[in-house]
């Protein structure tokens, strides 16, 4: 309450005083009071080992290969996963192809839709169990998996279920048809949600699927296969193969896949594009990003701070659309930095299963190494690093929330996707400069704009080269809202009518 001695408590802080520093009282108690642990205790029902899900059944890999899956929160082994090789992938495609020919393509749309509705409902029934499994396996805080990942995954099935018998309305003036069998590879940052993003529209459109989850986060995908069984989904309609890059390459390049969809790094996306060149396969790519989050001086700064924090620290920053480049108008840059540092101090880093945790575990040791390496480069290149003085758990992979000020456009931390809880702050003076800097990247997935001026929002939104623009908000997602990138962030959309159409052939 330092400020209360100099001015009456009732008076609102003037604009000038707001720009000098935060007027909010500092509710930071240091080590005075600690939160009690508040672990989520629902049983995740993880089996001791999982086979590949092919033709409606779990079966071991043909060569018997398997690999362990650990929890990044404490490095403990969770289960063993089957390692699919090319022959397993081939079996999965045969099953998918047969299911398509014999069953799925013969079902009327409304019957297909009923399966999707069932899946949505069964997933909602077991939501808490899935949330715990997701946080254990991937490291994200339970409050995110519980309140965002799992419910949004169910919402994707529910939304697309209703499309299955309305495909005639999808493309103006055209009839559509499914591709047949589609191959999909997804990353580790939103394991269940991304699975739903991929599977729900593909099934609604009438396709059958071979999908590979990421090798570090396959458990909820395999648990969802149990849901498929409970829902009575015909065998072979969805096949899940587990493994790493080689398995993924086999899924992408299989001749029975008439369409492939990939979400992951731009580097791997480009490699897939090259390997499929000349095959005529239809592709959609959802690749990396380096989003600019632009804050003007007239923005509601309190809301902006929350949006910036959410934009970069949501899911430990393992978000392709993370607002990793903060562009602050020069006049409020110092104020913003102070506010951000203050807000960061109340972020709780630690056990993903603790309900009070804001930032959980980094997904893998490799990713932790990559983040550390990029942060070192930021320091070496002259940017100013601030990390909150938080205690990190001794076991598991953790990284403290970090912000860099005095960042220039040429710094690696301003150009490369860090995919971690690391924010780079740059400044600008005019809207034109903000646009110039925001668009100065090969990526174009998302962007944020914070200002109170409506006309400026619309102008900025139209000039930002990005597939998603969040104005006075950040990191919002919905099954009805198309998501996807410009430029090297990929092509094709996921969500909404536009996303569904990417799983259909025009006749």
């Amino acid at each position: 309450m330092k400020t209360s001695t100099t001015k009456p408590a009732a008076s609102r802080p003037s604009r000038a005083s707001r720009s000098r520093g935060p007027s909010a009282r500092e509710l930071i108690f240091g080590d005075l009071w600690e939160f009690d642990p508040a672990p989520e205790t629902a049983d995740p029902h993880i089996r001791s080992s999982y086979g590949l899900f092919i033709n409606g059944k779990f079966s071991p890999a043909r060569k018997g290969g398997s690999f362990p899956s650990i929890s990044p929160g404490n490095e403990k082994k969770l289960t063993y996963l089957a390692l699919a090789d090319a022959t397993d992938v081939d079996a999965a495609y045969s099953a998918a192809s047969k299911a398509y020919e014999k069953v799925w393509s013969k079902l009327p749309g409304n019957e297909r839709g009923k399966f999707l509705y069932r899946i949505a409902r069964l997933l909602q029934d077991r939501a808490r169990e899935f949330a715990v499994a997701e946080s254990l396996d991937g490291g994200k805080p339970i409050k995110e998996s519980r309140d965002f990942d799992v419910p949004t995954a169910a919402a994707h099935f529910f939304y697309h279920a209703g499309w299955a018998d309305k495909l005639d309305h999808l493309a103006p003036g055209r009839q559509v048809a499914p591709y047949g069998v589609v191959g999909q590879v997804i990353p580790w940052n939103f394991p269940l949600l991304m699975l739903a993003w991929k599977i729900a529209p593909a099934l609604a459109a009438g396709n059958c699927i071979v999908i590979k989850p990421a090798e570090t986060t396959s458990i909820t995908a395999l648990k969802l296969c149990e849901v498929f069984q409970e829902a009575g989904l015909p065998p072979g309609v969805v096949n899940v193969v587990t493994g790493a890059g080689e398995t993924g390459a086999a899924v992408m390049s299989h001749p029975l896949a008439s369409k492939v969809a990939f979400t992951g790094s731009t580097e791997v996306g480009k490699a897939i594009m090259r390997s499929l060149a000349g095959t005529g396969k239809k592709m959609t790519m959802e690749l990396g990003g380096k989003a600019a989050n632009i804050v003007f001086e007239d923005a509601p700064l309190g809301q902006a701070v929350e949006g910036i924090i959410n934009g970069i620290f949501f899911n430990q920053g393992h978000v392709c659309c993370a607002g990793s480049r903060l562009l602050v108008q020069e006049s409020i840059a110092d104020d913003m930095l102070t506010r951000l540092k203050l807000r960061m101090q109340s972020l709780r880093v630690g056990d993903p299963l603790d309900k009070n945790t804001d930032i959980g575990a980094i997904n893998s040791k490799e990713q932790l190494t990559r983040i550390s390496e990029l942060v070192k480069s930021g320091v070496a290149e002259g940017a100013e690093l601030y990390q909150t003085p938080c205690r990190l758990p001794s076991k598991g992979f953790y990284f403290p929330p970090s912000i860099f000020s005095k960042v220039t456009q040429s710094h690696r931390i301003a150009r490369e996707e860090i995919f971690g809880p690391v924010l780079s702050i740059l400044t600008f003076r005019t809207p034109e400069e903000a646009i110039e800097k925001a668009n100065n990247t090969a990526y174009g997935l998302s962007a944020g704009v914070w200002t109170d001026k409506g006309s400026r929002i619309l102008k900025m939104a139209s000039q930002l080269k990005a597939g998603v623009v969040w104005a006075n908000t950040y990191n919002k997602f919905d099954p009805s809202s198309p998501f996807g990138g410009y430029k090297e962030s990929g092509f094709g959309r996921e969500g909404g009518r536009q996303g569904l159409l990417d799983y259909c052939k025009l006749l």
Binding site: G467, T473, K476, D478, G496
Partner: protein, 285 residues
Amino acid sequence: MTSRLPITKTPKCYVGGAFIRSESARTYAIREGEFVANIPQCTRKDVRNAVESAAKAGPGWQKRSGYNRGQILYRLGEMLEARKAELADAVSLGSNKTGNPTKEVEATLDRILYYAGWTDKYEQLLGSVNPVAAPFFNFTVTEPTGICGVIAPDDSPLLALLSLILPIITSGNVVVALASETRPYPAILLGEILATSDLPGGTVNLLTGFRKEILPTIATHEHIRGISAVANPDERKLLHTAAADSVKRVHTLPSESPHDWLTAQSLQAIANFIEFKTVWHPIGA
């Protein structure tokens, strides 16, 4: 008295609103039994210059209203109508007297009108307001992809060329096009017609030359964001492989199978070279 000797035309490419020869000063002759004309044999440097012109024209063309773009395309139709006979002669060059040049020119005119009518309508069909389950106003609009490369086939050298170009510029993209190698003359005339329409210089840039020289540069140029091509299997492989380096949007048609260019028009052709942008804003006091 001898008959008057006509003035023959020097064929030139149309780049940045100006008529150019190749920077290399190379040409190749087209013949119909006897010599007809020397056509510029453009180089990769000419491609790069054309991309620069397109880049300058892009923002202005994109900013025009759909209504304005529609009127400009209609004006293009007006200009082309006036030179129908000359164009039909150009189309018949190198055709071995197959096809119906007049029909091709008339179909081209109708195609121009078709896309002129789309300029202020496609957005309402492709974009959307999205009913998200939270208090946000959420909408998806289309934006042009940017600079697009066009590789035209030898069949229907006028109709196919414009059938590839028109849907791309309808939404505000700009084009660098390579005309038919063996039947380039209609593209030479098209440049003159474009110059007298109200289409801003640089919006459409027309190059002539050898496919094997030009195609790899169009495939690899990083400022070219999309490619619409009629290509053989090797060329398609090259286009898609090179596109990976900068994640280009590539749409190809096989040159080994025949196409009915008389019916080749669709909303989908416009949708191939647009990007969807989704914007979120909270609803509140």
